[in-house]
Symmetry: C3
Subunit: 493 residues, 3 copies
Amino acid sequence: MTRGIHQPLVLHEDRFFDSDPSVRFVARSLYEETRELPLICPHGHVDAALLADNSPFPEPTALLIVPDHYIFRMLYSRGVPLESLGIPTQDGTRVEGDPRKIWRCFASHYYLFRGTPTGVWLDHELSDVFDVDVKLDAHSADYVYDQIAERLAQPEFRPRALYDRFNIEVLATTDKATDPLDAHRAIRQAEWNGRVIPTFRPDALFRIASPEWSGELEALAHRFGRPIADFPSFISALQERRRYFKSLGAAATDHAVLEPYTARLSPGDADEIFRRALNSRATAADHVRFEAHMLVEMARMSVDDGLVMQLHPGAYRDHNHLVARRFGADKGADIPVATEYTRNLSELLNAYGNDPRFTFVVFTLDESAYTRELAPLAGHYPAMRLGPPWWFHDSIEGMTRYRHQVTETAGIYNTAGFNDDTRAFCSIPARHDLSRRVDANYLGRLVARHVIDIDDARTLARAMAYELARDTYRLGSAPATTAASAPATMGAR
Amino acid sequence: MTRGIHQPLVLHEDRFFDSDPSVRFVARSLYEETRELPLICPHGHVDAALLADNSPFPEPTALLIVPDHYIFRMLYSRGVPLESLGIPTQDGTRVEGDPRKIWRCFASHYYLFRGTPTGVWLDHELSDVFDVDVKLDAHSADYVYDQIAERLAQPEFRPRALYDRFNIEVLATTDKATDPLDAHRAIRQAEWNGRVIPTFRPDALFRIASPEWSGELEALAHRFGRPIADFPSFISALQERRRYFKSLGAAATDHAVLEPYTARLSPGDADEIFRRALNSRATAADHVRFEAHMLVEMARMSVDDGLVMQLHPGAYRDHNHLVARRFGADKGADIPVATEYTRNLSELLNAYGNDPRFTFVVFTLDESAYTRELAPLAGHYPAMRLGPPWWFHDSIEGMTRYRHQVTETAGIYNTAGFNDDTRAFCSIPARHDLSRRVDANYLGRLVARHVIDIDDARTLARAMAYELARDTYRLGSAPATTAASAPATMGAR
Amino acid sequence: MTRGIHQPLVLHEDRFFDSDPSVRFVARSLYEETRELPLICPHGHVDAALLADNSPFPEPTALLIVPDHYIFRMLYSRGVPLESLGIPTQDGTRVEGDPRKIWRCFASHYYLFRGTPTGVWLDHELSDVFDVDVKLDAHSADYVYDQIAERLAQPEFRPRALYDRFNIEVLATTDKATDPLDAHRAIRQAEWNGRVIPTFRPDALFRIASPEWSGELEALAHRFGRPIADFPSFISALQERRRYFKSLGAAATDHAVLEPYTARLSPGDADEIFRRALNSRATAADHVRFEAHMLVEMARMSVDDGLVMQLHPGAYRDHNHLVARRFGADKGADIPVATEYTRNLSELLNAYGNDPRFTFVVFTLDESAYTRELAPLAGHYPAMRLGPPWWFHDSIEGMTRYRHQVTETAGIYNTAGFNDDTRAFCSIPARHDLSRRVDANYLGRLVARHVIDIDDARTLARAMAYELARDTYRLGSAPATTAASAPATMGAR
């Protein structure tokens, strides 16, 4: 097959900008100033081993489809069995193994992504990263597959080469608290200047009522090198792990919870609940109280060690039990729930929200909280910043709503800049590019309506595309452990 | 009075399209391709007797005002007594009976509808259906009344003639489970080709704590032809009624609940609760559990008989007790409440949401659920589709928000197409026209910002205006009882 | 310093209008018709003593920064200690006392307000009220300070002169129920024609579980001139105070609660709870029930005395305990919570919502309630009107969302017009101007999309800018105590 018989794939230079000429003109000129800035990636899920090993990527299907739940959940929702997409089963039942057959199935359903960010990212990725010049559909499936496969075989498409070509300045991964971080160590020892840093994510250690907890605790004790028989030694082990993460460049911790409930336990209660957990007798109520306490503890440790604290609440995990049992977690079946912040965060913010040493980045899947709770909180507490639109909201409309809803109350400087939050390495440039375009367009709207002038817009565009992410996570060239750039505030609590 | 002294009523050809020329140009061209497509009406409240009898419509007031709570609630909200609008009272107290006087009152308050969908629909209806060429106000009231009355007397304005002129392909009514469907039978036997089909709505039979329940059950037993003394025979009777509805063309069931709570009862519990209901001792808690169980049962039956299941939750009925006591239900006093879907639908979706034989169309009056819960659910479960913007949201802004909030997560193909949901037969073309214009405009925005190209937009426009409604409700020319068009999915639960 | 070296501050004539020429053209022409209309200010927090004394304003910092929590909360959120902004402490600890130093700190952080309404208001105020012609920043700080200080020394900048220049028709303050209203009496006796009226706000008297309550009750008894030993005399005292407020021109009452819960107590329960309060034994649950009952009582009294009832629910006060302890209330640390209206207002609306003598203006900090609950309620109950976008939502985007979300269900005529809700006297013109621009732009969008025509838009623009506020609060030139302009409704409950 040749390109001739397919529809051309062309990324329009002005894509995602309003068509109104006044807005578009400003948006385009702002974007021109940010498009080449290095990428700061302070939160994501790329596997560090990718860059440690620097092996060639496998063929297109294994790279683009099988690991990406953004993609296969959409096909599943329209009736395509996950087995036919090669998603591995938990029990090893055979699934489709022919990558080209899976690719064709994907291509013939690619129309489902019209108007979605996944569609937009993929087009960018196909065109810009892999030089594909035709629209993907059932007819062009093989042609596109071959084109990508051909590129993947070239040395310029090895992970480190792409990292450099993508102009990534720093890439944070997300890692279990018990992870030995071997890949991160390998990268630091390699003859390569990429900055790949871990992020400390101890969620599993806080889920004391889960059957997996004792295994997690054992792993922690193993890393700690000592038994963990009581709550104080649990705390010590966590502190030690944070130190270890930090020694490998970590800038942040990350915490995923259903409700962002925070509350302190008395030392006695903490001890008692921890003991029940050790005896596998922790209840669901124990879990809630323990997790709430541990979030406050994490904030306390962040004040001490300078790791930025990230909170990602509100995802009801594994809503589809059949999919979870058969295929495992992270298969596109995590569904948001309404999330309360004002009361839930009260204890943590009252304890540490006024402390100039603390940075607390809060995310949401519940957009109704933007104007109601999150912008007012971020617009008051010195420690708090609003994370960028997360997951389902990491999109043209989602980002636009975010800026329009958040800015008037919190301003731009209480937001944390962009992060791509992706496990799809090759989609990173597409995601940053989309974000920079949407932010430029938002600013273009402000300028065209004379809310701000073009000089201010220029300064803001650079902040939104680059500086806010770098500074929020303290990722400046001279890594700082104290908040040097933050003005002094009112001191001790 | 003559037209000359009144302000002209002109429907602008480009109405509801963005004024930005790039968007408008695309929107107009997409709309040109969908405006003449037949109307699929898979959910609404037109009285089938209208088309069975095919009698002339009464005069304008009885046709347009007295039965339409969209209209009289607005006048009531600004202080016009319902009595003066001729709304019949429950106790037979006399109300205004002069249709022309009521019409004048309506006309002098018509300014209240500026910027509302009701105003827009009415202008369309007056202009396009009744050839009225002046704006309605106190001065033109009589002139307009006479014009409509004159038209209603003509044979071309009989219901079936209008049905044909409106280009309706299929019209679903909404009917109590115990309805004998005489009008539907009469239509099928008539010398007329209109396709009017019933929809199975058993709500009243699930409200076991209501004083009306025993009467409803009696009616069910009467239709069933056998006594209903226990839960299994209740289930059998419902299955039999569904068969009967289906025999008259029914494509769907419909369920209105306050909370969309779903949960299974054990057979023992179901039996026990049903027995309490038979003895008029069912509690409010029993009602909640029973209804939750019956929703799961309805899903089970839909898997078997192929009826599409519709769920309309979140309306707090009869909020104004004075209005309810004096004028009865459906008088514009139903007010939405916040509605939770993620947890509430969990049991039903886990039971049947992966089944390729099941289609489940979910509606909402709580727009905050679009991005948070509904789009993620519809973007994952094969069975689930999102219904179009319902009731207060069936409007220019409401539909626009819906598309902008839903598409990026669920895509277009997990939405169910448009339905007019109306009891106002003559407003049907206006409602579909508005929807087609708004969808064309939404797509125009995507094209003008180069999110999708014009070819894709053309395909989507046709899907949104016609195919999605037809296919979701399986209303294709060859009525299908199995989901033939759906790709095979992963099979048995 | 001279102007020459600073960036010019220019307010664009078309600011806040969409850049699309069709919208802008209409918006501009509508705004031209409303920009000079007098200002109706039916709700706000200006200190009446300002206009009673008519003393010169102090220097710029004491006028613009220290009293304005919109401003200093934003600086605080980015790490500027409140002490360094001169915010007085509760315990008298010394804070920064050099106004020029505070002003410089503010000026050097003024970039934080880019894209916020505070920034927009301030620019308007600096330019239009004080003739400042340069952008405020660290470099221009002293130049701007001197310019404002120079103006404040002139007689044309005394409060009454500004009131007249601002073209204020009526200005309502907000006053504790126990306030003697001395300043209001002084204004009425002065040789000046300004109309400054009090608003009755009895919140503190309903918080029976608060340690401050007994002091508040004592103050009430003092004003009442009799001891208050039981619930009936409490009611009598409140009625008497309402009469007193009305005698000084009051048009409305105002009520701030966390949840807008309304419910009647039996006379026995009311008595008993009140007795517990007298003995300082009222519980938090007592408080909730008592406040719910008192809201219904306030509605009842409004039916009798014609005072418009305003409800401002949903602000969680003093979220930051450290700030509250150190600096007191109203320091930018009040954070909204999700707010339920449908069920909570049911008892009050069922009791008085159908009464033509009652006007009930409801506000929200929870925008998700606009389309879900508030517009449907206001679009049904004759007594209810929706207040304008409040606080965080009193902004370009906030007002725009409000109109787009509310109008289609409630229409324009169930909204209450604009109020500025400010304690910053000099910002009043800026706030009304912004509101008139945004409403003109909203109407411009409707006209440009042919939803309404220009004639209707013209009528609506005038209503939104002036008449709705005047008529909702019955502030017409001939002060009316009965709802003369409201059409008769269905009479007795």
